[in-house]
């Protein structure tokens, strides 16, 4: 197990180089020109060309990539075309907001998903199980965007309880977190239920039950630890789509995170920012999955004993 983890850590730089190259090529093949986006439709072509040149975009692509990689190796991700700020600084400003939003969304998702899924599995085919299964389907299918507007209309416009947008106070975090939590909530809930049902049908559970272990203790002490590893895997795997969801959620709520930064960067074709944010997002997904593996190796009784 440890050898596999070390192997994955060692592979990390290779993965990052491959990803950086893919992102570099993809971004530069996006239709649209940063110089045109900067100068606007009223600009004459000579201005657009001059801006293009001053941004260094007319240099051979491989040389541009070389400059980008040399910088990236020492942590310099270049200068944003739009803000003229170092990309690293832009990311450092926005990243904590996304991290905070992501963590609170996952916290909500876990608080609802695991007990909900557990209860659904314990009372399979009961009323709660049916409500729960229906609810998770709805949660997973509701578009983030629409749900966000619904929350805003209800809690800010009608009830005046929560700030509509921005990041002025901790209460600003509530609606965006809830919006972002929908998808992982549904996923974690369903995964917990399915995994619990699989574990509950195993022989050792039957044995424990025969020994007279109570239902509560049976589920929490005997079944849950064995049911959690797949749930942790799903959390790690789902991070990518949560980051994707953050783009929409942050934009609607004016939450100043990476998703917000990314959507503006794509809109104006701010190549260095798109590349920088993508690298950070990819690195996050890889690291979180690595952490998920380590966590599984700690909590999974079978892995622990092997």
């Amino acid at each position: 197990m440890n050898a596999r983890l070390i192997n994955r850590v060692l592979m990390l730089p290779v993965v990052m180089v491959v990803v950086s190259f893919a992102v570099f090529v993809a971004v530069r093949h996006l239709p649209g020109d940063p110089a045109r986006m900067l100068a606007g439709t009223a600009a004459t072509q000579d201005t657009v060309d001059a801006v293009h040149h001053s941004l260094g975009l007319d240099r051979p692509a491989l040389r541009q990539y070389g400059t980008f990689m040399r910088g990236a190796l020492v942590g310099d991700l270049g200068i944003s075309i739009e803000s003229r700020q170092p990309v690293g600084q832009e990311i450092a400003h926005h990243f904590p907001y996304t991290l905070l939003l992501g963590l609170s969304a996952y916290a909500l998702a876990l608080c609802f998903g695991i007990p909900g899924g557990l209860a659904a599995a314990m009372f399979e085919d009961g009323i709660w199980d049916r409500i729960f299964m229906g609810m998770t389907i709805v949660l997973a299918s509701v578009p983030n965007f629409w749900f966000a507007l619904l929350l805003m209309e209800l809690f800010s416009v009608r009830l005046g309880l929560l700030p509509l947008m921005g990041a002025h106070s901790w209460s600003s975090l509530l609606m965006p977190s809830l919006t972002l939590a929908l998808m992982p909530m549904a996923l974690i809930g369903r995964m917990t239920r399915a995994s619990m049902l699989a574990v509950l049908s195993r022989d050792y559970i039957r044995t424990a039950r025969a020994r007279g272990v109570g239902l509560m203790r049976l589920c929490l002490r005997h079944a849950l630890p064995n049911a959690l590893p797949p749930v942790v895997t799903v959390i790690g795997m789902n991070l990518g789509s949560v980051i994707g969801g953050a783009v929409v959620t942050e934009t609607v709520f004016g939450w100043p995170g990476l998703g917000h930064l990314m959507i503006e960067a794509v809109r104006w074709r701010d190549y260095p920012v798109i590349e920088g944010v993508t690298l950070v997002a990819v690195l996050s997904v890889i690291l979180v999955n690595l952490v998920a593996d380590i966590v599984i190796s700690r909590i999974d009784p079978q892995a622990r004993h092997s």
Binding site: L30, P31, G32, D33, R36, M37, L38, A39, G40, T41, A42, A43, T44, Q45, D46, T47, A50, V51, H53, S54, E82, S83, R84, Q85, E90, H93, H94, P96, Y97, L99, L100, L149, M152, E153, S156, V157, G160, P163, L164, M165, G166, A167, H168, S169, W170, S172, L173, T251, V252, G254, P256, G257, H260, L261, E264, V266, R267, W268, R269, R298
Partner: protein, 518 residues
């Protein structure tokens, strides 16, 4: 268990990083002397010359000033210049500067400083995004013997030079600002720059050293959201006091609510379809006319703009003093459109492919439905902004490869006719060089556009521009659709807002009547 203690450490670090959030609720909209304004777009730069965006110009207009300013009716007033004169040819202009004007950094404005500010626009080694219009007209900017006079030498006479100087891009910046100008505004305006929090807000405070009448407001905060329903909600919740560029649908709902007022500025953008003259459909004038007859402009203005706009009757906006209306021609006449198509050899109708920016899709869909009645099948390709810009500005060969018959576009600098007719209809502006997106080329029109730009006599200019409008309407290189009013939603206690001719909001004289909201 040792691994469990890391989470609090992480959370503490996070809280430290997002420290601003721990601060008590900010004094936002509604506080005394404070104003919050929401616009669709975030600012692109704090350097007025390095941007071409109306929303950015609005933010900057509170902090920067030009040599002159223009009213909505094109009247010119002194601002940083107190007087000016030009030679008989109209190519050398001298501006006498106002004395005792201080930049926000404390330095006094001098002729040398103003020259430095304008030379930035002419410098092609460090090209600024908003320099095109200026560079096309101005050759050199110099000081004179008098240390309060600035001299402009123009490439050619340009009767609208004063209007050009009223644009945001021609605002005077401090010579001491340097590269920091992109993030930190430094001008002479009634408000000085306070803070720009990326993806959040720009804050400005009253300039205590302002040379003119100090503004009523103590501080201004600019926020943004691209989502119209969020803009609407923000006005209702009080998160903002003013919403710039409100969609007509929301304005309609707000009209009957006493808490709000709508400021309706008729000087909005013109929408049109540039017909690709290099493709089969565009090459035949009868087909181009058919497209025009197939378009019910009044119905579009009613349905999409809720009557907050006007059907296009000319390639100039109705607010332009050179505007000549050719109403009622072309009228909506699907029978005539069909007849013209039959005459052009397509009795069973034609297919027309149109590139449309995502936000203009409703207009394209309305046209699709409307044109069907005349036998025209409209194929819409809905494009994201950057993709749209690259396809719209594609050259004839690329447009042929994309099979594009037309581009739906909008334009909003109609108050200088040369800045509308030249980029859109002059042969030399054919894409990609300029915004003549359909490659219209008429040597007669080109000659008239060139003549109109340098003609000093107002009467002769009027005659020239009338002739150009007639020639363009006759040749129909475009389906001119409508001009959309710029709508600004405000809380009812706000007054004094001005929408400048370039579309930027001017909040210098905004006052709040401190009545509690009903």
């Amino acid at each position: 268990m040792h691994c469990h203690c890391r989470l609090p450490v992480l959370l503490t670090a996070l809280i430290a990083c997002t420290g601003a959030m721990a601060a008590p609720a900010h004094a936002g909209a509604g506080a005394a002397g404070a104003l919050t304004i929401m616009q669709p777009e975030p600012p692109r730069s704090m350097d007025p010359a390095d941007q071409m965006a109306t929303d950015t110009s609005s933010i900057l207009s509170a902090m920067y000033e030009g040599l002159v300013r223009a009213d909505a009716d094109r009247t010119i007033h002194p601002l940083l210049a107190v007087s000016w004169r030009h030679d008989p040819q109209g190519t050398t202009w001298d501006f006498v500067l106002r004395r005792n004007v201080k930049f926000h950094d404390g330095h006094t404005m001098t002729a040398a400083g103003v020259v430095h500010s304008f030379r930035r626009l002419l410098d092609m080694n460090a090209p600024l995004a908003g320099s095109s219009r200026f560079r096309a007209v101005v050759d050199t900017v110099t000081t004179t013997d008098d240390d309060m006079t600035v001299r402009f030498s123009l490439r050619r006479p340009y009767p609208d030079f004063l209007l050009l100087l009223s644009f945001s891009q021609a605002c005077v910046t401090s010579p001491y600002a340097g590269a920091s100008l992109a993030r930190h505004a430094d001008g002479t305006g009634p408000f000085r720059f306070d803070e720009w929090k990326s993806s959040e807000y720009v804050r400005q405070a009253r300039n205590p050293d302002y040379w003119g009448t100090p503004p009523d407001l103590a501080s201004v905060r600019w926020i943004w959201s691209a989502e119209p329903s969020v803009m609407d909600m923000a006005l209702h919740t009080g998160d903002t006091d003013i919403v710039g560029d409100l969609p007509a649908l929301y304005a309609r709902r707000m009209e009957s609510d006493p808490r709000f007022v709508i400021h309706d500025d008729p000087n909005g953008p013109l929408y049109w379809i540039a017909i690709n003259m290099d493709r089969h459909a565009g090459a035949d004038r009868r087909i181009r006319q058919a497209l025009n007859y197939a378009t019910d402009r009044q119905a579009l203005v009613h349905a999409l703009l809720r009557d907050r706009g006007q059907p296009a009757r000319s390639p100039l906006q109705p607010v332009s003093p050179y505007f000549v209306s050719y109403a009622p021609d072309p009228q909506y006449d699907p029978q005539r459109a069909r007849a013209l198509l039959a005459e052009a050899g397509s009795p069973s109708g034609i297919t027309f492919s149109l590139a449309v920016q995502d936000m203009d899709e409703p207009l394209a869909e309305a046209l699709q439905d409307m044109w069907k009645k005349s036998g025209i099948t409209l194929q819409i390709s809905r494009l994201e902004g950057g993709v749209y810009a690259s396809e719209a500005f594609a050259d004839p060969a690329q447009k042929a490869a994309l099979q594009l018959d037309g581009v739906l576009a909008s334009w909003s600098s109609g108050f200088i006719p040369d800045m509308q007719l030249r980029p859109l209809f002059h042969g030399a502006s054919a894409a990609p060089a300029g915004a003549n997106l359909g490659f219209f080329h008429d040597p007669g029109v080109d000659a008239l556009i060139n003549a109109g730009a340098v003609e000093p006599s107002e009467d002769k200019r009027k005659a020239i521009y009338a002739q150009i409008q007639e020639m363009i309407m006759h040749d129909a290189p475009a389906v001119l659709i409508y001009t959309r009013d710029t709508l600004v939603g405000m809380r009812a206690d706000i007054s004094g807002l001005v929408v400048r001719p370039d579309g930027a909001l001017d909040i210098t004289h905004v006052t709040r009547n401190r009545q509690p909201h009903p």
